[in-house]
Amino acid sequence: MNLSGFLGQVFAILLALVLAPLLSGWVGQCRAWFQNRTAPPLLLPYYMLQKLFNKEVVLAHNASSLFRAAPFVIFGCMVLACAIVPTLSTDLPFAPAADALALVGIFGLARIFIALAGMDVGTAFGSLGGRREMLVGFLAEPALLMVFFTLAMIAQSTSLATIVDTLAHRELVIYPSLAFAGVAFTFVSLAENARVPVDNPATHLELTMIHEAMILEYSGRHLALIEWAASLKLYAYSCLGLALFFPWGIAPGDNFLALVAAIPLLLLKLAIGGVLLAGIETINAKMRIFRAPEFLGTAFMLAVLGLLVRLLLEVRT
């Protein structure tokens, strides 16, 4: 582990912490524009975090220590996830710690804790949200794993850094399987980040909410951490999608100039991604919760198809 790699790693984490609320704000703003509403300020998530950090924490009488620990665990999981996703360079000292499969596990750990915290206080909404979250999660996880398997077959490795390195620095080869995996990954990201076809991040309508239902009991800095973790999750998924399917411009190693050049490119790609996400959220209606298995089943099917197409078309013996 060399010093520049370490600095790059720290910088990537700090960038994730700073940029994640901005990305959420950008998506919210684009969504408002698409829907002909007056847009909230771009920096709204930062104001929100500042306000929440200054507020007092109110706990329910029967809240256990798990309820208080969960926000920190979730936040830690998301920071770790952001640390092992190659955003600017593929030379990440943290990357050997966790490969693509462990990344799925990290997301799963965060999901379990948020669901447990939702059920901890014992309100009806919390348990309802927790159950729905687990339903969505257990359908989304195999699809995500299948996407990673397809990519791992191309790169012959499950390490994210190696996968991105292989994809970013190759001669121009069209992988049809990547198209399938890309569509499946988009579906999974929408479901995992509580976005419109599956959940609406802006609603408090009790019949439909999933993510919001679980965090109703949180306040103050706990809520701030959870909101921040949610933006970090969106950031991690966006960066993962960009790194896997549009990997151009990610610095190969400890090349400082390439690292600097990667920053504006990343910002540009995230901005475009945010516009596309807002577009998807605008043109789709939220589906009934019972349609979610069908939606995620389609994602799983696409990912499996990607794997099969990879075997049929691209592997020559």
Partner: protein, 222 residues
């Protein structure tokens, strides 16, 4: 590995994968108009794949069959189907006999079977497009599945047409297309078939007040 494949073959593979994706989208689609649009898109992907094959190999009759695909499957047939839907005033969703996720899983199993069956066959072919044979077979199977699982007559016809797309892809991928006469004959057959089925639709609706073919299982007059 894939670097041995020339660029045009990669392009054809991509388009073939797209055709397979569209076949699955049709299988999952509930609305009849969207189904017809997906069929037109599938035709477009097929046209592009044939065109790439034609440009790569420089064979004249492949250009013809590409043109035939464009005119017939992207323009004429979807137009006829759209008109039929309008005239028959079909509204609402297509009912499937099995629910959609189950259909999808059956579809995946079919694709696996088709790929396995096609693998030894495509080893024998020498064309640049031989890799797509498995996909073509899978599209045919999926179209079959769609015809079996749909109740409404019109979506069965779309399934039939999609099956023809798959057969066409198989012919192109295995042997660079069939002889011109055969291709023209099939194209004409499909066109005439759709027109006749269109007339049938009106007859069925007049008789049973519905396009649901369940009503035709009873043979008694009533």
């Amino acid at each position: 590995m894939s670097q041995t494949l020339p660029f045009s073959a990669q392009l054809i593979n991509l388009l073939a994968a797209l055709i397979l994706l569209l076949a699955f989208a049709m299988l999952a689609q509930r609305r009849i108009l969207a189904l017809i649009n997906l069929f037109a898109l599938q035709g477009l992907a097929l046209f592009l794949a044939t065109l790439v094959a034609a440009v790569t190999t420089g064979q004249l009759h492949l250009y013809f069959s590409a043109g035939l695909t464009l005119v017939l499957k992207v323009l004429v047939l979807p137009w006829i189907l759209h008109r039929l839907v309008r005239q028959l005033r079909i509204r609402g969703e297509v009912e499937a006999l099995i629910n959609i996720p189950t259909t999808m899983l059956v579809g995946i199993a079919l694709v696996m079977a088709a790929f396995n069956v096609a693998l030894p066959i495509s080893e024998l072919a020498h064309t640049i497009t031989r890799g797509t044979l498995g996909i073509a077979l899978a599209v045919v199977m999926l179209a079959f599945l769609m015809m079996i699982t749909r109740r409404k007559a019109i979506s069965q016809v779309v399934g039939f047409l999609s099956m023809e797309n798959g057969l066409f892809l198989a012919a192109t991928s295995a042997t660079y297309g069939m002889p011109m006469v055969v291709e023209l004959g099939i194209a004409l057959d499909v066109l005439v078939g759709v027109i006749i089925l269109g007339v049938f639709f009106f007859q069925i609706r007049d008789q049973f007040d519905s396009l649901d073919i369940r009503h035709m299982e009873k043979l008694k007059d009533n």
